[in-house]
Symmetry: C2
Subunit: 342 residues, 2 copies
């Protein structure tokens, strides 16, 4: 995804400085103040957390999609109260994150008063990392399951061509002392960005990653990218999860399925015009108290270590975040140059 590592030392930026830079880029490209603020913070947070695929790398895409008119950078999310445990947000063909943030306080309130809440965001373009969408809910003591459908890349099990998106699922639960246990994973056998890197470096992929344009297994990343397809992770089971996510994020929100996204009328655009669903659960309802629940999570984390699991899901992100807080966010000079011309 990024340019190959060069010998040039990275540039360091503080989090607020990076947010300000990204904000001005987005404003220059036609977003409202609010959308610029939210997206810049989200994108800088992804970069801070060490994401190679969902941080600054995505800025060119934001700009292209805004300029082409495929995404509305000035849309105002429309929140509809759809029940004591259901909140529907029409993102108005804008990015998903501003819609999520606009609904977050009410979604939290509903989950706390009803015991659970479904937050369904439709008519939206999701472009940030999903972990940032579930983490804030766990930080206030809720369990969160988030899913997004995306753009058709993944073949259903036994099939020959693309249907599902890489369709990530993220899960976050509160730990003791306000920490969060979290995972965020795509349902493709390999991230689309990793395939692109292998193609650029002319490397063969392992078996079981993708099909070529005729629907046959291939180890060539080029063949996968040029009309082929990615396989789901874990065979038919991963395929079923990809299906579930296209239903929960696409159908439940009255939005496109991954295979229905169509940017052909907007040259330069390439964005998942789909939906996002987050299921929130108040863990005190079955447990008496948040303290009892988080103690159980600590017990499980200890058992995972005892069973020999050396790294928790999400641990790398927290390490990157800590490092960025200490020394600033490291940015490759080539990436910085790309930003400066947007």
């Amino acid at each position: 995804m990024r340019d190959p590592p060069s010998d040039e030392p990275p540039i360091y930026r503080s989090f607020p400085d990076l947010v300000a830079t990204l904000e001005s880029i987005l404003l220059r490209n036609g977003t409202s103040d609010e959308v610029a603020r939210v997206l810049a913070t989200n994108c800088a947070s992804a970069e801070r957390d060490g994401s190679q695929s969902h941080g600054l790398f995505r800025m060119t895409g934001y700009v292209k999609n805004l300029r082409s008119g495929f995404v509305d950078g000035r849309s105002v999310p429309n929140i509809r109260d759809a029940g004591s445990a259901f909140l529907y947000v029409d993102a108005g063909n804008g990015y998903a994150r501003p819609a999520l943030e606009s609904a977050m306080p009410r979604a939290i309130g509903k989950a706390r008063s009803a015991g659970a809440c479904v937050l369904a965001i439709g008519n939206a373009h999701h472009n940030g990392p999903l972990w940032l969408d579930v983490e804030p809910f766990a930080e206030v003591g809720l369990v969160a399951i988030g899913v997004v459908n995306s753009v058709t890349y993944v073949v259903p099990h036994g099939g020959r061509k693309r249907l599902y998106g890489t369709n990530p699922m993220a899960f976050a639960v509160p730990r003791m002392d306000g920490q969060v246990l979290l995972f965020d994973q795509a349902t493709a056998a390999m991230a689309h960005g990793e395939v692109a890197v292998a193609a650029r470096e002319n490397k063969l992929l392992p078996e079981g990653i993708g099909l070529d344009a005729s629907g046959l297994p291939t180890r060539s990343p080029q063949a996968i990218l040029e009309g082929g397809a990615l396989l789901p992770f874990g065979g038919h089971k991963g395929s079923s999860i990809a299906m579930m996510i296209d239903i929960l994020a696409g159908a439940l929100t009255s939005s496109n399925f991954s295979h229905q996204v169509d940017w052909s009328a907007h040259p330069g655009a390439e964005s998942a015009h789909t939906g996002e669903t987050i299921i929130l659960i108040d863990p005190t309802r079955g447990n008496g108290s948040l303290r009892m629940f988080t103690q159980r999570i600590e017990d499980l984390v200890a058992a995972m270590a005892d069973a020999g699991q050396t790294r928790l899901p999400g641990e790398r992100r927290l390490a990157a975040r800590k490092l960025a807080a200490e020394r600033g966010i490291a940015i490759a000079p080539a990436m910085w140059k790309q930003l400066m011309v947007l």
Copy 2:
């Protein structure tokens, strides 16, 4: 699981006849009338649907667990209203299915009035197929996600020994004309029962199924069963899903994690004394009408066929069910003999 196929032709029983037979076995072994009725119907339904692992094969286990006193066959589920979108059921150390059935009407009512409902069943023994637990909700127009944690068999990714259960997840959505699209899958790389069959037949397993007692990869089913462990499906991603399920079904319901189940004080017993969580969502809230939602599901099913997926999840079960309705449920004579001595 079952005895090897013999030349003896199967015995055929109608569904009501099989239920009556199982009911009398359960009553003889100390259950209440209500528990016998519910479990017999559930077990006969699994057999009718062609399950090799969750139908009549489980009857010996029911009886052993009841006789040993590990499971209470006379417990009465205690339903607690825990919010407009949360129902908690204490199964009272009984089987999970009677608890589920006792709470089903109220859970459906809550999901319809609030837009969503979490049904958390704790202090329970789950012993039937999970698909039968989610299917009834989809039949009345709800989306259902069900998870159960079980008994420690599965090693976390990168670990050396058992921690998670085979932890199934099932998902059901309504289709047009009252049909249901459904999947039900364990998070282990292979079902425990299939490993047992391979052990009996002295066959080697494929790579990537399990570890031996020292934590090293093995293709020997015996080594997996004798102190070894199953791997999760799909590497670290399947491992994360297994973790999520142990949290949602174990911690959220104030029940054991899979690795905490302990039947050592009850000789002969072997049962998952854990929890079950079912998340219900009313799909009309984001869609305007059930008809619009189910039309989207039909669109996706058509797209799956167009992409070359030749079999829908759950299709085999529906075919077995249809066949059983026509000619009765086929039962191997050896299995029938086993039942007659329980």
